[in-house]
């Protein structure tokens, strides 16, 4: 039987196994090879909530999903075309993610009674009809791996642990991925442990050869490289891009980066990543709690550093009082909120966009703050720089909204020319002989940033209301109103320096505007494209700055007879848009702890168009 090659535009593969099975690593390597091949792609790791749940249980399943294509990829895919399941639990947990008719590659060795029991299968799903309608390939991955690795002479346990490389080899063969990058990577990683290296290489090759030599698979799939702008690319996850963006902002402004944080899923990776780059002069402080972290950052801001504190929802709640202090003291500072599913502890490993209103309004009193959000993993880089630029220019704290999905998923990124990143002048106040007025404002309504160490500019700031210009404590009624207005106007005025809201409206006469923000960009883009392919007139605009809104937002909204706002919350942006512009925007809300699926948006768009 000869093996045919089928060309496909896009494929979604999902690797699923036990926490200990190394699925994230497998996914990473597959992603890497795919990126090097030139496909566009997007990935989504799906961690279990437990650190290491008992092996073989459904709640211990760890998965990694990748969509890659010869055209533009905007999401990791709603559903998988192929699921690699290393054990019954993985099958149980993730079968529902696979399209009907999709391919299942199962590790046959793991389908014994004990594992079926642990996964909660009463009968073998391979035999009881559960898998009817799927293309099932049962491959004894463990035993082949053990046999292949035997010559290397490592112990049985080590040999078995290499089975993920077998799976990787097999899938690499199926999709005709280059093997060199993986082999090189293994070399780098296990160079110091030749036995382990050999075992992994043997397993990988065994997997690849298994595809090549057995007649199990009737065809391979080829996904051609996607057209891409010329440039140097890498694959990047949101957490990395955000960390690097902060470092870039530090370089652009000449201000040392000071990052204070208290660990919390899914924001901890930012702390981890930044703490590795001390040679950039990055100070990272693991604070005793989120309140301390925010205060430390604010203290560092006072000294003239690029101060950042990062957290997730529960930590945002705790930081609010301190953010209010940053608002009234008008100091530049970034607060990164990597949103996760709430309320309360909620589902810490799952994604959500539930913190927008808490970012807007989570502090007592009138406490306006700029808010910016990232729309894709690589976009986090730019967003970090933009946020720093606004914070420094306007002397204001800025909240950066990311989410669990963005932080963990990855995509190819065309590397920016770092020498072209525009400088950010901190414009520290300089002594000029005359009296110093810490609340004298410039045209941006920003006040001077006079840092300790500067002779003659000693001054005192704090949380009590200030007299404008002089900065003295003031209980004066009119001054309070003036300051309240000024704080609002200053933030509103930022819009003047922001890009206008761009609308992707192919024909210019769309009947529906889909307005989004944050990590839903990819899903919305995919859905809007499909709707257009179906002949619908649909436009898409995606907000980066949520406060202030781009100056043309009202105009854009009023240009369309219908507006749909999809969010992974219960309509938070929708409330703001409706309240501000009195536009009857319809909210599409899906709060399931996962990214929006393009196909559920298809329906929502359809309804909005007809509704």
């Amino acid at each position: 039987m000869s093996i045919t090659v089928e060309e496909r535009e896009r494929v979604v593969v999902r690797f699923a196994g036990d926490s200990g099975d190394g699925m994230q690593l497998t996914g990473d390597r597959f992603t890497n090879a795919t990126a090097l091949l030139g496909n566009d792609l997007a990935t989504l790791p799906d961690f279990p909530a437990e650190i290491r749940a008992p092996a073989g249980t459904v709640h211990g399943v760890s998965a990694f999903q990748i969509q890659f294509a010869s055209t533009d990829v905007t999401t990791p895919g709603d559903h998988a075309d192929v699921l690699v399941a290393m054990n019954p639990a993985a099958l149980k947990a993730d079968l529902s993610t696979v399209i009907r008719g999709g391919t299942l590659i199962l590790n046959e060795d793991a389908f014994q009674k004990r594992n079926l029991d642990k996964a909660g299968y009463e009968t073998d799903p391979r035999a009881d009809g559960t898998l009817d309608g799927y293309q099932v390939y049962s491959v004894p991955m463990t035993s082949i791996t053990v046999r292949a690795v035997e010559p290397v002479g490592v112990g049985k346990k080590e040999a078995e642990r290499a089975k993920n490389m077998f799976a990787l080899g097999l899938v690499s063969w199926m999709y005709d991925r280059p093997t060199a990058p993986t082999l090189e990577w293994l070399e780098r990683k296990f160079g110091g442990k030749p036995e382990i290296l050999d075992a992994n290489v043997a397993a990988f090759n065994a997997g690849y050869n298994f595809g090549e030599t057995t007649e199990l698979f009737a065809h391979r799939v080829e996904v051609k490289a996607a057209p891409a702008e010329p440039g140097t690319y890498r694959n990047v996850a949101g957490a990395q891009a955000l960390a690097w963006g902060l470092i870039a902002a530090s370089r652009a402004s000449g201000l040392p980066l000071f990052y204070a944080s208290y660990p919390i899923t899914p924001a901890s990776d930012l702390l981890h990543e930044l703490s590795r780059h001390k040679h950039f002069g990055v100070i990272t402080v693991q604070a005793e709690d989120e309140i301390a972290a925010a205060n430390m950052a604010l203290g560092a801001a006072f000294t003239g550093q690029l101060a950042v504190t990062g957290t997730s929802g529960p930590g945002l709640d705790l930081k609010e009082e301190t953010i209010g202090l940053a608002v009234i003291t008008e100091l530049p500072m970034l607060i990164v909120d990597v949103q996760r599913a709430g309320p309360s502890t909620g589902m810490p490993t799952k994604t959500e966009q539930g913190d927008l209103l808490a970012a807007m309004f989570g502090r007592h009193g009138e406490s306006p703050i700029p808010i910016v959000s990232a729309s894709s993993p690589s976009d986090c880089f730019e967003v970090a720089i933009d946020a720093a630029r606004v914070a420094i220019r306007y002397r204001t704290p800025v909240i950066v909204l990311s989410d669990s999905f963005l932080q963990n998923s990855s995509e190819p990124w065309r590397l920016p020319d770092v020498s072209a990143i525009e400088g950010i002048d901190p414009h520290f106040a300089q002594p000029n002989g005359a009296g110093f007025h810490p609340y004298a404002r410039n045209d941006d309504l920003a006040r001077p940033w006079a840092i300790p160490g500067t002779p003659g500019l000693q001054h005192r700031i704090g949380g009590l209301e200030r007299e404008n210009v002089t900065g003295s404590i003031s209980y004066d009624a009119e001054n309070h109103e003036r300051m309240t207005d000024l704080r609002r106007e200053k933030v509103a005025g930022i819009a003047a320096s922001l890009p206008k809201l761009e609308v992707d409206d192919a024909t210019g006469d769309a009947e529906l505007l889909v307005l989004g923000w944050g990590s839903t960009a990819g899903s919305i883009r995919a859905a809007v494209r499909r709707a257009r392919d179906d002949g619908e007139k649909v436009a898409h605009a995606h907000l980066r700055w949520l406060n202030p809104l781009p100056s043309n937002t009202g105009d854009v909204l009023r240009r369309y007879p219908r507006v749909l706002i999809p969010e992974i919350n219960e309509g938070q942006l929708a409330l703001l848009i409706r309240g501000r512009f009195l536009v009857d925007a319809r909210s599409f809300s899906r709060v399931q702890g996962r990214p929006l699926w393009a196909d559920e948006l298809d329906d929502a768009i359809e309804e909005a168009l007809r509704g």
Binding site: T232, N235, F258, G281, Q305, T329, G462
Partner: protein
Amino acid sequence: MADTLERSKKDFTSDQEPRWCPGCGDYAILAAVQSFMPELGVAPENTVFISGIGCSGRFTYYMDTYGFHGIHGRAPALATGVATANPDLTVWVVTGDGDALSIGGNHLIHALRRNVNLKILMFYNQIYGLTKGQYSPTSEVGKVTKSTPFGSVDRPFDPVALALGAAATFVARTIDNDRKHLTDVLRQAAEHPGAAFVEIYQNCNVFNDGAFDLLRDKTEGPHNQIRLVHGEPIVFDGGTRCVRLAANGRLEIAAVADTDPAQIITHDVHGPPSLAFTLAHLSQGPTEPTCIGVFREVQRATYGEAVHDQIARARERSGDGDLEALLTGGDTWTV
């Protein structure tokens, strides 16, 4: 960042008129601190005062240095940010017993543990002044206040003991109206490289007048102040009483006349913190003879130093960070 310029109290005095209640102990502390500052040889612009909320919190406004009046309880964290970001600054924290030990207890103990280079002055008046007289976690049991009309039922902290429990490297106690002792303790705190915790008995004449009379009073005081001096035997009350070794390693207060001199304890600010801790528990201060002065002083790397050392070492190892190299590190491909 000491220099040798001549400065005077005026150089550290802002143009804001203090607004404490007439007679408040805070005035005396302010005057002592302002007078002491020139001695340090640190320019006002290299000095930062950070405070929390409370009557004590206003201190910041009266110093012509850089100042940050933070929110309630968070001054040690705010100051940690300042001192860690820029270790060249001399950073003072002024806080109240409620600010430091009630809402701010956690930040305080962590700043002490980390040995952040902060001089922390805690105004200990055993009451909440600014909010008009509720009891504080330092008020004695049975305290009748607005929030405890039938008397408080919970035992107070001993701040010195708490600081020692938190591994503080410098712990001292002094009294608002004893300018000489106060200045002497400030000097030692300033000289200490690292976190210095100074408890200052401060009379709140409006809501808790006379709480420290036994120690502040010109005639009572000398009988009841156990003045600790490193390296000297611990005797007090005009040399009539002492702290001596008792059974099973315990210490006790006794008459010198009844004591074998070899049993009198010599004050030692170094070594394990146990001696300091024992001295803190000799009595129920401030209503019995009470130790004042420096309880403990040991040297450890400061947090700011250690953080910047780590950066310097990373730069030695890897050179100053290169953004381009960072982005292109790992697998890249070119189209």
